[in-house]
């Protein structure tokens, strides 16, 4: 059970944060189809940052002596860098769709093509292979919080909650949850959030009340880019052992589906991403899921092909979309370029 919850969280949290990225863009009126591309870019930037910083003596010594606070600082810095460059990358989309009134679907697709191409090009030049890995050690030894990190002996049992939420977890997961909560409050309880949402519903009305629609839409997509970039790095850190290979396996699109399923509302999205995280976790680790701890790996022993488990997240997405799309209510003005002159 502990394993299942932890694995589900590993997938659900990046999904949740990237889906929120989608919300910020769409609530301001821009369809951000580029989430996948920005994630790929953010993952690369974050991993590259870690890769570079690993040769700095400060962090190298910290890893040797087990100074975990310094290492967590490095993790946070990498998240920040990934977020910052994700935001910069998303400016390409904002510029095309806000200033040039381009087709947002094609603009987003362009970014989705650009990110893996650029990332693979650079990775190949940098390390002469197709995957960028950490210079020394792995994500678990550098960044994972374990019992030993807090000076507790491996064999002591620290209770179910402790075992689940404090042993073998990443700080990034909790930071993401915190960011998610804070930004959800921003979106609903602040003047800025209200204005942002107004620009996605009726930009003309917002404009008539003195809100700068272009600025608000820039803000929306930039926050979106930052969140997606950070989500990409967190995904790479927690599920791919801090490596980047120009691929996040359709995770950005799954996040879009989560956003639609969650009806563009943060609380629903949190729930939806837990559900999708569960299926993603089953797809990735079905053979080692032991529900009640009796040593029987039920899902593996059912004899269902591993291919079917891998298809599960996508099948569920389609089914869920089919059931919810009739009820779903997208921001009214999303995808429509704002033109001051039109009525």
């Amino acid at each position: 059970m502990t394993f299942l919850i932890q694995q589900t969280l590993l997938y659900a949290v990046p999904l949740m944060i990237v889906a929120l990225a989608g919300v910020f863009a769409e609530r301001s009126g821009i369809i951000n189809l580029a989430l996948e591309g920005i994630m790929i870019f953010g993952a690369f930037v974050g991993v590259l940052f870690v890769h570079t910083m690993q040769s700095v003596p400060l962090f190298l010594n910290a890893a040797r002596s087990g100074n975990w606070l310094t290492l967590q600082g490095l993790e946070l810095l990498a998240m920040l860098v990934a977020a910052a460059l994700g935001a910069v990358f998303s400016l390409l989309l904002s510029f095309a769709s806000i200033n040039l009134r381009a087709d947002q679907t094609i603009g987003g697709t362009a970014l989705n093509l650009m990110a893996p191409a650029l990332v693979l090009f650079l990775i190949r030049i940098l390390v002469n292979q197709n995957t960028l890995m950490m210079k020394t050690g792995d994500a678990a030894s550098w960044f994972m919080l374990k019992k030993s990190t807090f000076g507790i002996d491996k064999s002591t049992n620290i209770g179910f909650l402790g075992e689940t939420f404090l042993n073998k977890v990443y700080l990034a997961t909790y930071i993401c949850i915190l960011v998610f909560v804070v930004l959800s409050i921003v979106l609903y309880k602040t003047r800025f959030g209200l204005r942002l949402r107004a620009c996605g519903e009726n930009p003309q009305a917002a404009d008539s009340l003195g809100i700068n629609v272009y600025k608000m839409r820039y803000a929306g997509t930039t926050i979106s880019g930052a969140l997606a970039g950070m989500g990409g790095f967190v995904y790479a850190l927690t599920t791919a052992n801090c490596t980047a290979n120009g691929d996040v396996a359709g995770f950005g699109f799954l996040a879009l589906a989560v956003m639609i399923f969650g009806n563009w509302k943060p609380l629903n999205i949190a729930g939806a991403s837990l559900l999708f995280g569960l299926f993603k976790c089953i797809a990735a680790a079905y053979s080692s899921i032991d529900l009640n701890g009796d040593g029987v790996f039920l899902l593996a022993e059912l004899g269902i092909s591993s291919h079917l488990y891998r298809m599960l997240p996508y099948l569920v997405t389609l089914a869920v979309l089919a059931f919810t799309s009739k009820k779903s209510r997208a921001p009214k003005a999303e995808g429509i370029p704002y033109d001051k002159g039109s009525r």
Partner: protein
Amino acid sequence: MKQTLRTIYEKDATKKVLASLISILVGLFVGTIVVVLVGLSKDTITPRGIWDGVRLIFAGILSTGRNAAGNLTWGYNAQSLGNMLFRATPLIMTGLSVAVAYKTGLFNIGAPGQYLMGTMASLMLALGIPSETVPAGLIWVIAFLGGCLAGALWGAIPGMLKAFLNINEVLACIMTNWLAANIVTWAFDVSNFKNVVENTKAGYIYKTTFNGVATPKLGLDKLFPGSQINGGILIAIVIAIAMYILINKTTLGYQLKACGSNRHAARYAGINDKRNIVLSMAIAGALAGGGAALYWLSGNTEFYWSTYQSLPGTGFNGIPVALLAVNNPIAVIFTANFMAMLDIVGQQLTGYTAYNEYITDVIISVIVYLSAFSLVIRMMLTGKKKAGATNANAETGNKPSVSEDEKKGGGEA
């Protein structure tokens, strides 16, 4: 004379071509900048290496390798040209696939999945039907049609989801892409088409030539000696012309376009919009699947079957092919060849310089990015900003105007 030039320049079609050419040039230019920047920041790449890289980006198709002195040599390269045409064959088909769907206002990002399903069907048919009893030519036809059919069925799924449940076709296409990747892997995993004869080909499917099935060369191999070219390119060109006729000269084509410009107005005029959306996606799927069949039935390429983690680039590259061609089926033939040329350029870069083939993907993505606002470029060419802006939405029937119409229609209903 000046007058004639002016009238040609004033034409909308000329502007479209110019806008595409500008996109291409800017794309190549950005590629050059990346190559130069990376070259300057790496000590291992000499200025001569950078210069070689830049030259290859612009003229890689005419490269004939390096001479004894280590300098790049240039000239007519029949092998590269033939390979370009060979690689353009599936790109023409996936480009047509995206273009046809776009005419109906649908963004077919599902071409990779349809391409994979086409691959599976055509390879299984071509390898599964015993060539002792059935003539190889007939097997080829069956396999090609089977590929088209598989693609059509796969394309119809997002079409139906869009038409009847109003699910965003982009999302549905992405999901069906990954489903296709898993299904194809699964199907070949349990099949006995895996190459077990050649040790170096572990993980690949048999070539179709193992069953004596291959696209006829039609003498093209004499024209381009040493290349992989075959008659498939001619079939693709014929299909492109057929698509042009279908879209522009038939009732069906008119109905598809009508649904694309305004779904609700089309329904009001008595056109079955749902049927047309499904049909448009099915045709798009058949084209992508047929493209896969033309590529794999060539008999000189192996398919790596464990593909569940990656989607074929040929499918995605149908998008830039169609966008550059402004969704004109005839223009697709040329833009597909351009994309195939970039592919060859990428190989030359990997082979002869310190750079790698992904730079061409960067160039392609820049081109797609630019074609997102090719309207703005066209407006700049016209110089009449205001007039262009009002025409802009009406003329292309692109996404924003469609969804706007949908909303208006929804309000009235």
